[in-house]
């Protein structure tokens, strides 16, 4: 029914997909799996007409198609359900389902027809807990997904792409999604199911396509694989880059310690961070990695549990306790893009009234090159921006520094420099915590790895553990 052949795509000269083939038959659940950055989302967005492929062809029912716009893909029968739902919260279910295609009678929107058609669709999906006139805002995420699926059906979609559909769902809601997926396939609709969660994949998928580093590893019958085999296919890569040597001696005293830390997203977190140690945090999307860093820092504080130093209730308390956070989303949370390097680097020092070390020394310390304090930071490369973010924290000499995806969007050279700096900071007696979804980086840098799953600590692994071991703990099938 769907055949994608030789799909390739580059962004800004970086090849993210190359020569990927994918075939999907009617009524099939076809899982697409791979690590973060393997190219799953890009492939799906090409299918949905969001990105145009640089090379390769897409055929639906033997006819070659090209999509210049998502609406064209919709017309060809491809619907995509994103993690971030594309619904209008202030409008009703029916208004969302028929958005852009409202039925009209005598020049007026035919509400009755729209609502009864939506009602039929919901009924056919076995959904009776809400109706076409309810405001989308009042529905749970799981039910909003049902609305998205109803919208897809009203477009006569024959291929439905679900991108990490269970990520925002609670456990009991996952079952409902399974039922929904089965209802779709029973109608002959093909479901492309993108997920990290191996258990779901084995529960649902007929066939599995594994992507790695932008290329297809294999497509196999789900029944011919088990978890171990699948994980091997997904990772199984050599450590190809250099990481600075680990600390020689045993780590120092415990600087930060949490017992039973919890809030709405985290539960019963026990964690010790020691001087001189880099602790890696692994976990799937939505496992609570970023939330953990924000809780330790005081941005989204723990509401329960014990912590030494005292549990920060706000960012100011976190900083006062000697904790710093290098955020994941540098543009939105790390830098003030239109301000100068100097102002960015001194942001925290100025905010807290800490004595300011000389800006030049600070920039030298993070090896910013060229060190131009008067330049606007938006003009710097990602790597240099990240160095300035580091300088921002070093200006107040924190005792604990939390890194959330410190090398995302950073070029190779700056990446090594940041890795060296992290190790240097640890060696000087700082406690370092690093979140990364790049497993080689996490394994290469960490003295031990804490794995999170669904807001809890799933386990801890020693330095130099294999990617498979980490994935197994993180996905826990």
């Amino acid at each position: 029914m769907l055949r994608m052949t030789g799909i390739g795509k580059s962004f800004l000269g970086v090849r993210v997909l190359g020569g990927v083939d994918l075939e999907v038959s009617a009524g099939e659940v076809h899982a697409v799996v791979g690590e973060n950055g393997a190219g799953k989302s890009t492939l799906m967005k090409i299918l949905a007409g969001v990105h145009a492929p640089d090379e390769g062809t897409i055929e639906i029912d033997g006819r070659s198609v090209t999509f210049g716009h998502p609406v064209e893909a919709q017309r060809a029968g491809v619907a995509i359900i994103y993690q971030e739902l594309t619904l209008l919260p202030e409008r009703t279910v029916a208004e969302n389902v028929f958005l852009g295609r409202e039925p009209v009678r005598r020049g007026m929107v035919d509400r009755a027809a729209m609502e009864s058609a939506t009602g039929e669709l919901l009924k056919s999906l076995g959904e009776e807990s809400f109706g076409p006139r309810d405001l989308v805002r009042r529905l749970s995420v799981a039910r909003q997904q049902v609305v998205e699926i109803a919208k897809a059906l009203s477009l006569n979609a024959r291929i439905v792409v679900m991108d990490e559909p269970t990520a925002p769902l609670a456990d009991h809601e996952v079952e409902l999604l399974y039922t929904l997926v089965r209802r779709l396939t029973a109608r002959g609709i093909a479901v492309l199911y993108v997920s990290h969660r191996l258990r779901e994949i084995f529960d649902l998928a007929d066939r599995i396509t594994v992507l790695k580093d932008g290329a297809r590893v294999t497509t196999a019958e789900a029944s011919s694989l088990d978890t171990a085999a699948l994980v091997r296919l997904m990772v199984g890569r050599e450590l190809d880059s250099y990481y600075p040597p680990r600390a020689a001696g045993p780590p120092g005293e415990v600087i930060l310690s949490v017992r039973g830390g919890g809030n709405t997203r985290l539960h019963g977190i026990d964690l010790d961070l020691r001087a001189g140690e880099i602790v890696g945090v692994a976990g799937l999307q939505g496992s609570g990695r970023t939330e953990l860093a924000k809780a330790l820092f005081g941005a989204e504080p723990f509401t329960t549990g014990e912590m030494t130093p005292r549990r920060p209730r706000s960012v100011r308390e976190g900083i006062a306790a000697g904790i710093g956070l290098v955020t994941e989303d540098r543009k939105a949370e790390g830098i003030l893009p239109n301000q100068r390097v100097r102002d960015n680097a001194l942001l925290v020092a100025r905010a807290t009234g800490a004595p300011r070390n000389g800006i030049e020394r600070l920039l030298e310390r993070v090896r910013l090159s060229p060190p131009r304090p008067a330049q606007e930071i938006r003009l710097l490369s990602g790597g240099n921006q990240q160095k300035v973010v580091l300088a921002k924290w070093m200006s107040v000499a924190p005792r604990v520094l939390l890194f959330d995806e410190p090398t995302r969007g950073v070029d190779v050279g700056a990446k090594a420099a940041i890795h060296d700096l992290m190790r240097e900071l640890a060696r000087d007696g700082m406690a370092v915590l690093m979140i990364s979804s790049e497993l080689p980086e996490l394994i290469g840098m960490s003295d031990r790895i804490v794995v999170l799953r669904e807001g809890r600590v799933a386990g801890e692994l020693p330095a130099g553990s294999s990617e498979e071991a980490v994935m197994r703990l993180a996905a826990a099938s």
Partner: protein
């Protein structure tokens, strides 16, 4: 979670009452309006007047009509996620266009009305195109257009000009039974806008674009056209208000729009009515309530002979308090 989400069953067939009550954001403004009417009644009673007298009610309606019409237009652009600061100068401009073309003669009326509406539609088109094509934020785009109109007016006029024939003054002063014609005009504009928003594709798309432009685009809505259309309709509403004011004044005046403060006051009425300034939520019903609220307030002030500085202070406090209440309601639901 699941228990709470057991929602009421959907009754068959849509009743008008259900539709109106579904327009939830408007509810607080009517509660406030009712309270204010009671307050007004008390104030007038203590002061020896009759608040609910025909004279006073007609006065409120008449004062509200021009602002009401502009605010209905403003509702459309704000719902679409835009804004129009040029309405006040546009009102002055259309009042002058009307009065100059009529020049006191009955035969000029149709041409003048058509010209005033055409000028306003054109202004709306320019506003809309600047916002969508040049991607200038609506605040600046419409402020710029407002300044252009002001410059043109100041260059040509330093006082009232033109005159409208007596026949045209019926629009501003006549009554049909107890109802002023101007209030009926306002009601018609509001009803038209309500119908547009709740019953036409354009209306649905105005909500969609204002709610989330990207979602609308991904659903195949041509978002730019929707914004332009909303701007044209808003400016036409301002044009109608200009006609009405020309009819009242008997002439056109370069300051009639700004003296009335129609730009900021119309925005105030819209947000008082519960329409989100960011777009996508709200409606005409709330705006009508907002306009009436401001008018009732005015009439109470007049009865008490409050000075105009104190008036502004009270109005400012009410506006801020109203928005704080809306923000709170949204957080808690």
């Amino acid at each position: 979670m699941t228990q709470q989400l057991k929602l009421r069953p959907v009754p068959a067939g849509g009743s008008l009452i259900r539709r109106l009550s579904a327009d939830r954001p408007a509810r607080p403004v009517y509660v406030a309006l009712a309270l204010l009417v009671v307050l007004g009644w008390l104030v007038f009673a203590l002061d020896g007047g009759a608040f609910l007298s025909q004279e006073n009610i007609v006065g409120i309606q008449q004062r509200s009509a021009a602002l009401g019409i502009v605010a209905v237009g403003q509702t459309l652009v704000i719902l679409a996620g835009s804004l129009d600061l040029s309405v006040a100068y546009l009102i002055s401009l259309t009042s002058l266009v009307t009065a100059e073309i009529m020049a006191g003669s009955d035969t000029g009326v149709p041409v003048a009305v058509a010209a005033a509406l055409a000028v306003s539609a054109l202004t709306g088109l320019v506003n809309g195109l600047i916002v969508t094509r040049l991607r200038v934020h609506a605040f600046i785009a419409t402020l710029g257009v407002a300044l252009v109109i002001r410059g043109a007016l100041d260059a040509r006029y330093d006082g009232p000009a033109g005159s409208v024939p007596e026949s045209f003054q019926h629009l501003g002063y006549d009554r049909i039974g107890p109802l002023p014609v101007s209030a009926l005009l306002w009601a018609a504009v509001a009803a038209g806008a309500w119908l547009l928003l709740s019953r036409t594709r354009l209306g649905y798309r105005i909500y969609a674009v204002g709610g989330d432009t990207e979602v609308a685009r991904l659903s195949g809505v041509r978002t730019e056209r929707v914004v332009v259309a909303a701007h044209v309709l808003c400016s036409v509403c301002a044009g109608i208000a200009g006609l009405l004011l020309a009819s009242r004044l008997g002439a056109g005046a370069p300051t009639v729009g700004t003296d009335g403060g129609y730009d900021l006051e119309s925005i105030a009425a819209v947000v008082l009515g519960g329409t989100a300034l960011a777009g996508g939520r709200g409606g005409v019903a709330g705006t009508v309530g907002g306009v009436l609220l401001l008018a009732v307030l005015d009439s109470i002030f007049n009865q008490l002979e409050v000075n105009s500085f104190a008036k502004d202070v009270v109005r400012g406090v009410i506006l801020v308090a109203a928005l704080a209440i809306y923000a709170r309601r949204r957080r808690t639901r």
